[in-house]
């Protein structure tokens, strides 16, 4: 329970119910918060892989992944730095579609998403299946900008957005949870914004 801050009244009136606790609406702006240099990736050599505990390790080129059944997400995204951006539209392919091809082994319980930059983030397998996760390359009808992870990023909008790895290169299926880039540095392994799972121990 927080202690009251003397004199602070806040902006709780008319608070949008789509905002999880501790979040604010960033409006039209879309902040960029990346720890690395923004890479320039070549679509001619771009690939996305599914590997690890799967029956058929699989890889798609830019053209091949676009030939799969399209998937879209319409809704909100939430960054651990406390901004949320409401009513966005992303297009790409559902992770379900990719996993159907690769066919996870029964032992697989978690995934490590990895990026072309070396960034990693860990997720329970259940959080990227069942229509909850995408590889996204369009946002609001336009190609995903480089600084927002273009040409393609992972999109797991029900979790804090550091889980939605920019410049995603693939998913590695694992039989245990292993911390990724930020998780090693104190961020939560799951990151549910509605439970405010920001840091380890939350």
């Amino acid at each position: 329970m927080s202690r009251f801050t003397r004199g602070f009244m806040g902006r709780s009136a008319n608070r949008d119910p789509r905002l999880p606790p501790g979040q604010y609406d960033t409006g039209r702006s879309w902040p960029v918060l990346t720890a690395e240099v923004t890479p320039k990736l070549d679509l001619a050599t771009w690939s996305f892989r599914v590997e690890g505990l799967v029956e058929r390790p699989s890889s798609w080129t830019w053209d091949e992944i676009h030939a799969l059944t399209p998937g879209t997400y319409e809704g909100d995204i939430h960054c651990v730095t406390t901004w949320s951006k409401l009513a966005m539209t992303f297009a790409g392919v559902s992770v379900d579609t990719l996993l159907e091809v690769a066919s996870p082994l029964p032992a697989a319980t978690h995934v490590m998403a990895f990026s072309h930059t070396g960034y990693t983030t860990n997720l329970p397998l259940d959080d990227v299946t069942g229509g909850k996760a995408w590889v996204a390359w369009d946002v609001d009808g336009q190609p995903l900008p480089r600084d927002h992870g273009g040409p393609a990023r992972l999109l797991v909008p029900h979790l804090y957005f550091w889980k939605s790895a920019k410049w995603v290169a693939g998913l590695r299926l694992l039989d245990q949870d292993e911390p990724g880039f930020w998780e090693v540095r104190g961020y939560h392994d799951r990151g549910d914004p509605w439970l405010e799972q920001r840091y380890q121990g939350d």
């Binding site: 927080s2 202690r3 009251f4 801050t5 003397r6 004199g7 602070f8 009244m9 806040g10 902006r11 709780s12 608070r15 606790p21 501790g22 604010y24 960033t26 702006s29 902040p31 960029v32 918060l33 990346t34 720890a35 690395e36 240099v37 923004t38 960054c79 730095t81 406390t82 901004w83 930059t117 070396g118 960034y119 600084d147 880039f181 930020w182 090693v184 540095r185 104190g186 840091y199 380890q200 121990g201």
Partner: protein, 241 residues
């Protein structure tokens, strides 16, 4: 990305009270708040704290602010905070908070954009992006007589330079983009490769902090100047109001 330089990271603590000991005006829009922590914990140069405000109806707002003071065991930290016109938290801190008040903080946070004071560091900041870099420069100056760290800071005008009395000397470079200081040899203009190239060392870790636009431009210039992409660590400031 390599992690060999990242020291062990203490766990992010829970919320705690902090008493405002001092409020210092840095520029027209920037103030430094010196806080005494109820439960002191060590931070590394480059880390940040969360500040949380709570209204009588339970509504809360929280934002992240970089620690400007170097690591110390005093149980006190300094947060330097820019007042954003629509910033819910920064306007309250600037306009309503007084010495003696209690606010809630949580931290320290961040284990990537940190420097332990060992090995050379190039620090490149835009505007209020200088704040976490100042913790690093202060650490370098406290530890060593050698120039282990060099700070390059880009600001619009002399009035926008935070820590102006400290950002002086051979371990600093100030780039004015709109209006220079009297007697400045460099004409006003955006950061260029020539501003950075003399400061590049093959063995340095480079820390870039500022707006996303600044971070993109600065990292492109650094790479042009020969800095390995893997040695660049970036902190982009979003609109943390």
């Amino acid at each position: 990305m390599t992690s060999a330089l990242t020291p062990g990271v203490p766990k992010v603590g829970s919320w705690q009270d902090a008493t405002v000991l001092d409020i210092r005006t840095e520029t027209a829009r920037v103030k430094t708040f010196r806080l005494a922590l109820a439960r002191p914990g060590a931070h590394m140069a480059g880390q940040h704290y969360l500040v949380r405000l709570t209204a009588p109806d339970g509504y809360t707002a929280q934002r992240s602010y970089s620690v400007a003071s170097p690591p110390s065991d005093t149980g006190e930290i300094e947060l330097t905070i820019e007042r954003l016109p629509d910033g819910e938290v920064s306007t309250f801190l600037h306009d309503e908070t007084n010495v003696g008040d209690t606010i809630e903080v949580r931290g320290p946070i961040g284990g990537w954009f940190v420097w332990n004071g060992h090995g050379p560091a190039l620090l490149v900041g835009g505007g209020s992006g200088v704040v976490p870099l100042m913790a690093m420069l202060r650490l370098a100056r406290a530890r060593s007589n050698q120039q282990v760290a060099h700070l390059v800071v880009s600001v619009r005008t002399p009035d926008d330079l935070i820590y102006a009395d400290e950002v002086q000397g051979p371990d600093t470079t100030v780039v004015y983009t709109r209006e220079t200081a009297p007697g400045s040899a460099r004409a006003a203009g955006r950061l260029t490769r020539d501003d950075l190239a003399p400061r590049v060392r093959a063995d340095a870790t480079t820390f870039v902090c500022g707006s996303s636009r600044f971070a993109e431009a600065a990292s492109d210039l650094l790479i042009e100047a020969g800095v390995p992409v893997d040695s660049i660590r970036i902190e982009r400031f979003g609109p943390t109001g």
